[in-house]
Symmetry: C4
Subunit: 224 residues, 4 copies
């Protein structure tokens, strides 16, 4: 069981310290932040690869028509992009309150990122299958990814905040409670949307969009 050691951000401290005295006692928070930054931005930008049209060829439908029929692609793109963007902002804020990290946290973070980096695939499924045979499976895969993401993200935050396990000393409890309050509705909301996907795939995708448009932004700003 690793000791919980204080850490200082790896990227900034050298400027005010001797470069020849490495920080032996830091854990990996700064490192997993850099990893996280990259994964969030790339996952969001890869979403655009879901868009596809046929042609130009004599047998392809007119491009204008094709672009209008892509509306599930636009809907899924906006939903996933906004969700990733807001999770990223939350993630930075939460990490800024932590003063140390440990082995379990490291692993929870990698699992969370792994789920976020996976999002372009179910997003593409929704884009391709909504309105076609297979739309139920697509919507279930899409909403299941959001359930998994919210479960991991909640576990990530609870592990860090319970008993102030990884929280820096100067952080007031009210800041932690504000974040916890914002996190609490995530899992039940996405779980409900997953259930809805069994009955109406289209409604489930719209609800996922609504969460991104209305719930997440307010949650992103906590009590500030």
């Amino acid at each position: 069981m690793p000791a919980l050691v204080p850490f200082v951000s790896e990227r900034e401290t050298p400027s005010c310290r001797s470069a020849t005295i490495p920080r032996m006692d830091e854990a990996s928070t700064a490192r997993f932040e850099a990893f996280s930054d990259g994964v969030f931005a790339i996952a969001a930008t890869l979403l655009v690869l879901e868009f596809a049209v046929k042609g130009p060829s004599p047998t392809a439908p007119p491009l204008g028509n094709q672009l209008l029929h892509l509306w599930p692609s636009y809907l899924a793109y906006v939903t996933s992009f906004v969700t990733i963007g807001i999770i990223w902002m939350n993630h930075h804020h939460a990490v800024s309150l932590m003063g140390r990290t440990d082995r379990t946290m490291l692993f929870l973070n990698i699992l969370l990122l792994l789920t976020i980096a996976f999002l372009p695939f179910p997003t593409k499924l929704v884009a391709q299958f909504l309105g076609h045979e297979g739309e139920r499976a697509a919507a279930l895969a899409y909403t299941a990814t959001f359930v998994l993401m919210s479960v991991l993200y909640n576990a990530w935050w609870r592990y860090a905040s319970t008993g102030r396990r990884l929280i820096a000393d100067g952080v007031p409890d009210s800041s932690l409670h504000a974040i916890s309050r914002a996190f609490n509705p995530g899992v039940p909301m996405y779980a409900s949307v997953f259930v809805v996907a069994f009955f109406s795939p289209l409604t489930a995708v719209f609800l996922t969009f609504a969460i991104a448009a209305f719930y997440l932004p307010s949650a992103a700003l906590f009590d500030r």
Copy 2:
């Protein structure tokens, strides 16, 4: 309505402060800058995925010929790449003048990035369809994306600068006016090009290129 709070860049300040005193009053400007950086670079680099040739196979046209006929791809690639590059540089400059952020700004920024990350798709449409059946729809989709981008970018800047809402204290008004002057022609120019696309898709793409080559660079440097 969130209070407008001063912010300091999250990435740099810890080096000269205690790591155990988190900055509770910062808003998300530093965080959305990191997100923006990643999205700009990836969107620009994904543009290369639009290039495609057939073969090698007995039925494919000679590769040399194919490469010459790719000129709409080259044109669309250069236009989109230069536009993203310059918008990124402007974005950094504008953010450097801001001393705080708020909920509305956050959302405008995500919408702006969402549009920029979308650009590889209409760029690919122009590359595939220019000179073929469907070129009008491709050029309309392409120029409409630039219109949307310039509208969002103007809204983004006006929201920040009106009444110096998010501007840091030491910034002279002349700097703001220089940026506003550079921003003003964007929407009418791109809207005109969108109208041109109805009549001549090729001309519209060339005009978009001309804006990237002549208007944007001077706008990028403001009054410096």
Copy 3:
């Protein structure tokens, strides 16, 4: 033979120094760290592009069935993602102990990154071919990439640490030994898995997953 010169991190030092006195004596450690950061994050996120389904079309199998049959894709994705994530964290930690770099190190680092950036391809091979004709070749390609990666990563660390060649002055030997102990089992473990792939491709992929899940995380934290 280049002199071993001290380096200071390029990104941080300017904040407390005059910007007009460039650091002439720095070598390229800070620069190859920035390059490394980008490559790790992008390679991990590109893994998602391996996922593919057919349809929607009348002849495609039901999407739900297709998603269940994708289990080799899920397995390969998780294995490769976790491995890249942990190697990245190790890499940052090891570099933080170095006080200088040289020409050989530079080249070893580029070769290591080249192998990591290659990983999405054998990962896709496993995803496509496991359970089909060709699964042996796919598993051999996959495990061979891990062997190459571990050989290069060991060479990278041994070159830096032997005789404290590139290690900063204040670093205690115990820290180096802890890393070396963690590195030692890598090559024999992956080489054994490569041999297993000749006899049972599926077992080899599961063993690679087990290494990512059990061996790497403990190695990632060294003696902390």
Copy 4:
């Protein structure tokens, strides 16, 4: 003609200054460095997308055979990856010697990045066509990209260094001469390889690899 203004790195300075006094006199060097970092890393990592095999299907050749016949892909991948990696390291070093930037430099830098971000496409052409009908056109496109890259990179450096136009005050001339000496052979070498591509595409690709393996690494380290 814009005034040549001193710049300080945007990312680091705020930590030791008041956040409310923006740096009005900086030009865009820090900003184009951030853009450059992202583009280099992503272009290098996208190279892996050139690898493709057929199957699994009854009509596809055995996977093992296919992997062996991919050698042009491996060769092109290593050549392009190493070249991008080394150009990136050079780029950082050269920028670290500059104390200001201007409009022309900005544009040269975007053109250089545009060429580097383009490299995955001709790399894929070589991977697909070497040994097939069309290999001459592929090798010409590949080597032409390197010629263009070296011409732009030389122009970029000459513009900055001639008469110390953009060089910071404390930089000794010997450092500039070392870089110029390293840059000088680039254009004639790549131009010769381009000529070779007319007669022997395979030889031209091997020569491009040899330059990446032998010339670039020594050039990357200048006189250090």
